[in-house]
Amino acid sequence: MTGASHYLSLAIWVPIAAGIIVLVAAGRDRDAATARWIALVGAIAGFLVTIPLFVQFDVTTSAMQFVEHREWIPRFEIFYAVGVDGISMPFVLLNSFMTVLVVWAGWEVITTRVAQYMAAFLIMSGLMNGVFAATDAILFYVFFEAMLIPMYLIIGVWGGPNRVYAALKFFLYTLLGSLLMLVALIYLYFTSQTFVIAEWYRVPLELTTQILLFVAFFLAFAVKVPMWPVHTWLPDAHVEAPTGGSVILAAITLKIGAYGFARFILPIVPDASRTLTGFVIALSLIAIVYIGFVALVQKDMKRLIAYSSISHMGFVTLGFFLFSPLGWEGALAQMVSHGFVSAALFLCVGVMYDRMHSRLISDYGGVVNTMPYFAAFMMLFAMANSGLPGTSGFVGEFLVILAAIKVNFWLGFAAGLTLILGAAYTLWMYKRVIYGAVANDRVAALKDLSRREFWLLAAVALAVLAMGLWPKPLIDVMQVSVTDMIAQVAKSKL
């Protein structure tokens, strides 16, 4: 499927156009209802146009598919070039799916500046699809940076009491990280005379140059993942962001960091990557173990899930740097699964926060007595977060641990600790919030899920179970691209 198709452009521009229409047609607060409906239609349309990407995807090739190539800035050979392979396609779908959920999740909750809120999410959705689809480095960079703006606004405008601090921290952290990446992109352009990312896979580079490029890219993507010790923006951002912001941040934004490792660092500077494997694996293990302990003692549910995200993303970077198909497939599966599970947990916290206006674990207890349906859903997501077999969380963790044990038993053992720690912090939180006697009058007065909330959580639950019980379609999509990419990474450029 390499003929002319416009699905990727549609995936990028339909949500952005919908966002602009929402702003223009229903920008005033009294048009909130119209804004919601336009946003929902736009988000659903944005999701529908991505379905052909999956249905028509050719799993037998690692070449870019649904390719579009147009001149953009010819003087510097910068193109509007998009395409997806098995590594990026699942994330375009995941992102577009999540956008529908987020628009729906904010339906009754967001009451001020509704159009602006919806528009920010729609525009960000398009930009993030652009990040996954761009095959031209400058196009990638533009989408990568532009994406910061709506997220900054979402946290800064609709966030909690400390939102300005969190938004600024998020912005500065990610911007500072990515500035060095721009230097790296420009250097690579002067070396190769092109901004086509795939061409850079073939450019010979000295080890010292590779290490410098590695550092430049690493800073940008490690902040986004986020890896220890550049992770502290994430808990703050999550705590202050509105539910929808947290969902997108956890489900998609973090994945972009990990995607950068797979698309840029490993194939462009493979020798530096191999030289610095120990360093990255050490940081990943610290993220898995140290952050797991930090998550255990959090008092704020959102902060706990944020730390849990960092710990789970440690698995992704670990998987990539094991240099094996199992590790890569595990890492990618973990990325998709974490997209569903962390999003679901943030939605769950959102459901409780909307009723109690508190995220503190100590304010809850015995919620199952008043919200049994909700408790059942949250149980499933808590289990998935702990990596229980049958849920999506198991697939990625299992593959990465398997790959790690093949490299070194103790590496696999340390990675396996996450199953214990993950279960400890997730289930302990679940126990304190959901079980026990009804903690106070406010918990006693809680009402179970509304129909909207029920179907919202049911949609994610279905995805979590489907991926856990039948991961084959996802693995099939990735397999050839992963095998090819690993062959690419195995080649020395010296």
């Binding site: 010790p229 302990f293 930090v294 255990l296």
Partner: protein, 182 residues
Amino acid sequence: MTVPLILLAIPSIYTGWTYVEPMLFGDWFGSSIFVSDAHRVMSEMKEEWHGVGAFIMHGFVSPPFWLAVAGFGAAVYCYLINPAFPDRLKRAFGPIYTLLDQKYYFDRFYDWFFAGGAREVGDVASEVGDRTLIDGVMVNGSARLVGFASAVMRHLQSGYVYHYAFTMIIGVFVLLYWWAVR
């Protein structure tokens, strides 16, 4: 609870009675379970097998059955015939009673060592590692350092021409000195 227990008991008896023979000595599992020739446990057991009835009757002469009966008897004596007896026993064997009552203290130990230890490690990692070192010193510390440096430098910009002139003269002296010494 009685009815569910009865309902569970009926299929248990039926299944055990009907399937014990084909499962253990028949072809029930096909080739799914393989017994190595070196350990011919099943065929040796088969030599001692004389049908379900004999199997049940044999149960009555084996120690586990009589131990169970003894347990039942002890319970009847302690809680129906002589309810004061357990209390006397408890006083006579105080420490042993406590040890058993506390499940050899394993749960307490696990709670203190693993759960408590993990929380302790988490507290240190969260407070010292994340809040103080990373967020406090590295992140906000670097911002504060810039703020502090600017606050100091600000005083140099006094707006008086003679301050600037003196600074320049001092600068010239420093440069000359450096040039001369070199």
